[in-house]
Structures are given as structure tokens and as C-alpha cells.
């Protein structure tokens, strides 16, 4: 989508460029494209309207119009403004002055409350707390059982009274238990309800009055459309929400609902749910969501993941090897294993601007099982063979194929693609000597990052063609000169994050 937005904006400005001067109308035309991108991301119509007005005011300044790259300039303003609206700072959970702290999760049916209760429990326990999960959804068939099961699976205590008790009593009793056994916090699962269901909303008000929760978090599905605002507004009016958990962010929904809720209701986004596993809960970073709403991919998360998994030393060593052209299969195996630690490949690729969309558009699928095959092949080689793939002759190939349970064709393919990759790396090395890196993934992941070799050249050559007909198109990121500009900035921002955390 970012590609599309960049393209469309570039188009607009090129047309304008021929006239020699930019006018306010020109900027408006550009903003119409931005508006469309936001609407396609499910940002609420009214919010988009106000948002565009705010951006327009900034965009009409001289700087933008005279800039050599007005398209990026506009996107950068839009991005900045998005971050501002989303809330520039992370807001932590608040704690009751007197324990136990009660955290109430509310929301529509199917937004993911029960799962988030377990995730939050796990998350807070990792922070050294002793959470107690409370099953107060007595309506949905087997909701209590679901929480019990999750508790059992992850060794989290769950309080429930079956489905006959009143939710308000369940929560009260849970607090008593928590006081006795020093559980803190209580994380309460409530039944999904429509914001216009009077009786059910009253039930929540009763719970709130009875136990004074420190946090009332609205659990909202990232795929929600324009209704997100009405839902959040009504929940907020009745309960005064303290925050938002945005779920199902592991899909490809761009999550414009979050922006709508944040800007209309004003409550901060506290967490995002990124998968079905109980550890798939992450703190919220406004910049990343802004990037995603614009469809720019989540480069920051990717870089952070890489930095978590790959040491600086290791990465410098590898880069040297890449540039010197001595990168061998041993190093490659190393890289593969490091990437594997970062998470499922599809998820990683989704994080790259344009790649996720390209994958979907061309119906390309990347399966993590392919890792295993490559790994098995390389592991079936002797250390000597890994260092000098050239010595692998016919009989060695046959042995490797047998040893790894693959076919000779697969071994051949891996070897020939590795060779191709080496050639590309050699070119990269030459180029690095001459001047600046080219754009695209290589530039993106360059800068001392060992993933460099696995950029559009490496990853594509090696994994892509094996797994998917046609492979990951090396095109998208490189094709768009606009993505170049974003890279150095992304790097800087990550450093900032790091400092903050220290």
C-alpha cells in the first residue's frame, strides 16, 4: 500500500512538476491520495477529515512545495502527524495504591478478550507479578472452560464460579481471594457485548462500581471498520476506559481503527496482540502503527528483532566476509539460524515495506518448513564442504541428498543459488568500495547488519526460488526510489528506542 501511495503521490507531483509551480490545489490533490490510503486502512471518516485538515496546514508551507521530493515530504508530514495523534509516548499500566489492582477487559464479541486475559497474565508474570485470572464471562458457552484451559496450559491461576454466579459477585470474591493469597493484579475476563446492549452495559457499570478497577481496557480487533469509533465512544461513555488493546495485528489489517479510537476517545493504546500464542502480546509503539496504517511495513520492528538476536560483533564479522567475498555456507547457515530465532519467516517478510503485499498479490507463499530443508542439506555437508562448496562433486551431492532426506535436485538448486548469491555479494563488495549503497532491501538492512546478504539478492536467490515459483520479487523496494530516503531515518529511530530502554 505504501508503494501504491508513494507511486500515486509521485504521479501527482510529477504531473504538477511539469507546470513548474505547486499550488494549494496541487497539495490538495496529493492529500486526496493520502485520504484514500487512510480510508482504506479503516481510519474513521470523520477522523480522516480532521486529520487531513491538520496535515494540509503543515503541508502547504513553502518547504514542501520547494522540496525536491515533495511526495516523501508529504508522507513524512503525514507520518509525523499520525504518530502525534496515536500518542507519542507509551502509557504504562496504572496500579492501584492498595493491592490488588483490578484490570477489566471489555469489548465486543470475538475481539479476543479471553485470549488477551491469558496473554496479559503471562506478560505481567514475566514482570514479576502474581496475576490471578478471573472468569466473569458466564454467557458464552465454554468461555469459563476456555480460560481455565489457558490457565492450566500456562500455569496461571484462574478464579471461576462456573456459569451460575453473577459476574459482579465473581469479581468481588476473586478480590477477597487475591487479598488472602496476595495475588496482584486481577485480570478480569468479561463477556463480549454490543455497546448498545443496555442490560449488558449495566452489568459492566455494576462491576466497575463494586471493584473500582485501576484499568478498564477495551479489546478491539485490528480488522474493525468504521464502527470502531461508535463502539469505543459508547464503552468510554459508560465506563471511562483507561486504555486499548488492539488484537489480531498479526494479520494484514492495517489497524486504522486504533487511530480512530485514539483520536476520538483519547484513550492510549497500551498493547497490541500479534498472534494466538500466549506470549504474542507486545507493548505499543505509535511510530510502528503509523507506518503500518500508511502501509509502509514495520521496518522498525524488524530491525529491533534483528538487533535482539544478532550481536554487533557477529554482524560486523559477517559483513566483512560478505564484502570480501569469503561468505560461505557455514556463514549462511549461521544467518539462517539467527533469522529463525527472530520468528516465522512470513511474519518477518510482512514487516518489510511492499514485500508483504507483493507476496499476497502474487500469491506467493513462504513456508518455514523450507528453512528446515536448507538447514538439513547444509548440515549434511562436512565442514570442509561448507567452507568450500566448490569441492562438492557428484558423489558428495548424492551423499548430501541422502543424508538430508532431500533429492539431488534440491541439493543442486541450493548450491547453484548459493553461487549466485556469492556473485551478488561480490558485486556488493565492489560497490561498497565505490560509494553509497543502493536502495532496496540491501540498503535497508545494510549498515553493519548481517541480514544484508539476505536482502533482495540473497534471500530471493536462495530461499525465494526454492520455495515459490518466481520467488520474492526483488523489485518492489528497489523499484521505488522513495523508499531510499526512509532508511537512514529508520536506523536512527531504532537507536533512540534503544537508548530509552537503557
Amino acid at each position: 500500500m505504501f508503494e501504491a501511495l508513494t507511486d500515486r503521490l509521485t504521479d501527482v507531483f510529477q504531473r504538477i512538476g511539469r507546470k513548474g509551480r505547486l499550488t494549494e490545489q496541487d497539495v490538495d490533490e496529493a492529500l486526496r491520495e493520502v485520504r484514500r490510503a487512510l480510508l482504506e486502512a479503516d481510519v474513521n471518516y470523520r477522523v480522516v477529515k480532521d486529520f487531513i485538515a491538520a496535515v494540509r496546514e503543515q503541508a502547504i508551507g513553502e518547504d514542501v512545495l520547494r522540496s525536491l521530493t515533495p511526495a516523501q515530504q508529504v508522507i513524512s508530514i503525514v507520518h509525523k502527524e499520525l504518530v502525534r495523534v496515536l500518542g507519542s509516548e507509551r502509557v504504562p499500566l496504572s496500579w492501584a495504591p492498595q493491592p490488588p489492582t483490578v484490570i477489566l477487559l471489555v469489548g465486543l464479541q470475538g475481539s479476543g478478550k479471553t485470549t488477551q486475559v491469558a496473554k496479559l497474565g503471562q506478560y505481567l508474570r514475566k514482570e514479576g507479578r502474581q496475576p490471578l485470572l478471573v472468569a466473569a464471562d458466564i454467557y458464552r458457552p465454554a468461555a469459563v472452560e476456555q480460560l481455565r484451559t489457558l490457565g492450566r496450559q500456562h500455569d496461571l491461576p484462574v478464579y471461576d464460579e462456573g456459569t451460575q454466579a453473577k459476574p459482579v459477585d465473581i469479581v468481588k470474591h476473586a478480590i477477597q481471594l487475591a487479598r488472602e493469597r496476595r495475588y496482584d493484579p486481577l485480570i478480569v475476563d468479561t463477556a463480549g457485548r454490543l455497546q448498545i446492549d443496555e442490560r449488558m452495559m449495566r452489568e459492566l457499570e455494576e462491576i466497575k462500581a463494586a471493584v473500582r478497577p485501576a484499568e478498564i481496557l477495551l479489546v478491539a480487533d485490528a480488522m474493525t471498520g468504521q464502527e470502531a469509533v461508535s463502539v469505543a465512544e459508547e464503552f468510554h461513555r459508560r465506563l471511562e476506559l483507561t486504555g486499548l488493546i488492539l488484537t489480531k495485528m498479526d494479520g494484514d489489517a492495517r489497524g486504522g481503527a486504533a487511530l480512530s479510537i485514539r483520536s476520538v476517545v483519547g484513550v492510549p493504546i497500551k498493547f497490541i496482540g500479534t498472534g494466538e500464542r500466549v506470549d504474542a502480546l507486545e507493548p505499543f509503539y505509535p511510530e510502528r502503527l503509523a507506518t503500518r496504517i500508511l502501509g509502509m511495513g514495520d521496518v522498525l520492528s524488524l530491525i529491533e528483532k534483528a538487533q535482539q538476536q544478532i550481536s554487533q560483533e557477529e554482524s560486523e564479522r559477517l559483513q566483512e566476509k560478505v564484502l570480501a567475498g569469503t561468505f560461505n555456507l557455514e556463514d549462511f547457515l549461521n544467518q539462517l539460524q539467527q533469522i529463525k530465532r527472530m520468528g516465522p519467516l512470513t511474519q518477518l517478510l510482512e514487516l518489510l515495506p511492499g514485500v508483504g503485499q507483493a507476496l499476497r498479490q502474487q500469491q506467493l507463499q513462504v513456508s518455514d518448513d523450507e528453512y528446515k530443508h536448507i538447514e538439513a542439506i547444509i548440515l549434511s555437508m562436512t565442514p570442509e564442504e561448507r567452507r568450500h562448496p566448490d569441492i562438492i562433486n557428484f558423489s558428495r551431492r548424492r551423499r548430501i541428498a541422502r543424508g538430508s532426506g532431500t533429492s539431488m535436485a534440491e541439493v543442486n538448486q541450493l548450491l547453484s543459488q548459493f553461487k549466485q548469491m556469492q556473485r551478488m555479494m561480490a558485486q556488493l563488495g565492489e560497490m561498497a568500495g565505490i560509494g553509497r549503497r543502493r536502495g532496496g532491501l540491501r540498503g535497508l538492512l545494510g549498515g553493519g547488519n548481517p541480514l544484508a546478504g539476505l536482502g533482495d539478492g540473497g534471500l530471493n536467490a536462495l530461499l525465494g526460488q526454492r520455495m515459490v515459483p518466481g520467488g520474492i520479487p526483488p523489485g518492489p523496494p528497489a523499484r521505488h526510489p522513495a523508499t531510499q530516503g526512509a532508511k537512514p531515518k529508520a536506523g536512527k529511530k531504532v537507536k533512540k528506542h534503544k537508548k530509552k530502554r537503557q
Binding site: 480510508l39 475481539s111 480488522m223 474493525t224 464502527e227 463502539v231 500469491q363
Partner: protein, 321 residues
């Protein structure tokens, strides 16, 4: 519920209805109608319509296409009267949905030969509840029903289906949690044929359409079904949450590719959401919408009818509503 009245119902609607619900729905319903009442046919009207349709989740593309058609008609037919323009828009919207409805396959129910419905969708759209409603719907038609709990992943999903099975007096075929869904489906198919039930409803785990492995699993389930009967599943029902935004389109596309979706059910239409994504799906993919879920009660399922849908959600024709 008000909304359900617009649809052909199989059973008597529950009369309980909160006043607040009534009021809020009414407000939303009437917005478009009111717009035509107070405006002339001019660009301002088109702008306002655009806003309303986008806010109903029709999406930019579909909204613009609808309004383009309307503009052309207004010009061609020289429409000046807002009431006429209103009818024209209503027409356009109904036509859009009807065209997709034409793709609907004729459902042939044979006594004693299982008609297999595979129910799929992303997490939390209301698959299990829709299955319960479908079971009741078929029961009311005098068909025998069997359920298959092929969501072996989510905690207590099997229990949830079993609760429904008990309430409805319908057998549920299940394995232990974490079992292979293909195996459960295999057993379900066998049981359905041995016992000669009329309808076999298969509940699958919610899955995001971006998860390659899970989508492959759906293909496998399909293959397992087809090994029994090549023409099954006769119905592959994608359940979409009425509050879903533009992502619904991608969902429909991906599930159609992996599982061969034949019909769409819009669930949770009892809120204020208008399920406008149905229009986008109908326009882009031509997948027919066959059912709408309109409440939490097991009887709250209606067959989809384009005219009543458009009238109920956008034009509020019913005086009482």
C-alpha cells in the same frame, strides 16, 4: 429484533428488544433517507452520500463506483427529484448485491445424504454461533443435523460446540483438543454417512488468512471431505463479522482461494455496524451472501435477501423502524 423482521424468518423472533437498541439503529438506518429528504440533487448530496457509504464500510472503491453509476443515471434520466435519486441509489445497491446472489449455487438437500457445510473464517467472527444457528435453521426445516468439532486448536472450542450440541439435541463428533482437524473431519464424514444425517456442519478453527500453514490445513480438510464425496462440501461458508472493515475483502479473497468459499454469512449484524463490506465483496469477488446473523439467540439467523438488506440498513423504509 427490528432488523430480523425484514428477513424471512424461520421461527418467531424473540420479542424482547431494548429501547436503546431500537433508537440507535433507527438513527443509523434513516440517515441516508433523511439526506434525500432535505437535499437537492447536487454535488453536496453526492459528497454527503460518499461520507455515509464509506462510514458504512463499503470502502472507497465501491462507494465511488456506486455514486458514479448514480451520477450517470441522474444525468441520463434527468433526475431532479431527490426521492427519485434515492430510488435510483437503492436500485444500484440492490443490483450490486443481486448480481452476486446470482452466483449462488442451488442447494439440493436430499434426505439421508449428508449435505456438507464447511464453516471457515478468521478468529472471533462468530463461526461456532453461526453453526448453532444453522443447525437450528435446518432442524426447523425438518432435517437431521450433525456437527463436527474441527477446531481442535482454540482452548475449549470443542466444549463450546458440545454445549450447543446439547442445547439443540444434535450429535457432535469430536476428538481431543490438539488432534488433527483432518482426522476429526474424516470421522465426521464417516459418521454422517453411516447414520444418514441430512446436514453435516463442520466447525473449523479461526485462522488469519495470512497464515500460510493454517490456510494449507483448510485445503487438507477439503481434500479429506472430497475423498468421501467428490462433490462435497456442497457449501463452504465464510463467516464475516459485520464490523469488519476493508480487510474483509482480503479475507474473502484468500479464503476463497484456499477453501473455495461458496457463500458468505454476515454475523453480528445486531450492532450498529452495517456490514457494508458485503457490498465490496459482492462487487469485487461476486461471492453471494446467503445468511445474516442478527442476534445472540439461536434463532437469530435469516436468509439473505438483497432488497430487504439494503432497505433495512440504509433506507429504513419500515415506518415503525
Amino acid at each position: 429484533m427490528i432488523f430480523s423482521r425484514f428477513f424471512r424468518r424461520q421461527t418467531q423472533p424473540e420479542p424482547k428488544l431494548e429501547a436503546g437498541l431500537k433508537k440507535s439503529r433507527r438513527g443509523v438506518f434513516r440517515e441516508i433517507a433523511a439526506l434525500f429528504e432535505r437535499s437537492e440533487v447536487n454535488e453536496k448530496l453526492f459528497d454527503d452520500l460518499e461520507a455515509l457509504l464509506i462510514q458504512a464500510d463499503l470502502g472507497v472503491e465501491t462507494t465511488l463506483a456506486l455514486l458514479d453509476n448514480l451520477r450517470q443515471r441522474v444525468r441520463r434520466e434527468g433526475i431532479k427529484d431527490p426521492a427519485e435519486a434515492r430510488e435510483a441509489l437503492r436500485d444500484e445497491m440492490v443490483t450490486l448485491l443481486e448480481e452476486a446472489t446470482r452466483h449462488r449455487t442451488v442447494k439440493i438437500y436430499q434426505r439421508g445424504v449428508p449435505f456438507v457445510t464447511l464453516v471457515v473464517g478468521v478468529n472471533g467472527t462468530g463461526k461456532t454461533t453461526t453453526i448453532a444457528k444453522l443447525a437450528r435453521y435446518h432442524q426447523n426445516q425438518g432435517r437431521s443435523v450433525m456437527l463436527v468439532a474441527a477446531d481442535t486448536f482454540r482452548a475449549a472450542a470443542i466444549d463450546q460446540l458440545k454445549v450447543w450440541g446439547e442445547r439443540l439435541g444434535v450429535p457432535v463428533i469430536s476428538h481431543a483438543p490438539g488432534a488433527d482437524p483432518g482426522a476429526v473431519v474424516f470421522d465426521g464424514m464417516q459418521a454422517a454417512f453411516n447414520r444418514g444425517v441430512d446436514i453435516l456442519l463442520i466447525d473449523t478453527a479461526g485462522r488469519l488468512h495470512t497464515k500460510y500453514n493454517l490456510m494449507e490445513e483448510l485445503k487438507k480438510i477439503r481434500r479429506v471431505i472430497q475423498r468421501h464425496v467428490p462433490e462435497a462440501p456442497q457449501e463452504v461458508l465464510l463467516v464475516i463479522d459485520a464490523t469488519t472493515g476493508q480487510n474483509g475483502l482480503v479475507q474473502a479473497r484468500m479464503f476463497t482461494e484456499a477453501a473455495g468459499v461458496t457463500d458468505i454469512a454476515i454475523a453480528k449484524l445486531d450492532g450498529t455496524a452495517k456490514g457494508g463490506i458485503a457490498f465490496a465483496i459482492a462487487r469485487e469477488l461476486g461471492t453471494p451472501i446467503s445468511y445474516v446473523g442478527t442476534g445472540e439467540n439461536v434463532t437469530d439467523l435469516a436468509e439473505f435477501d438483497p432488497e430487504t438488506y439494503v432497505d433495512a440498513l440504509f433506507f429504513g423504509d419500515d415506518e415503525e423502524a
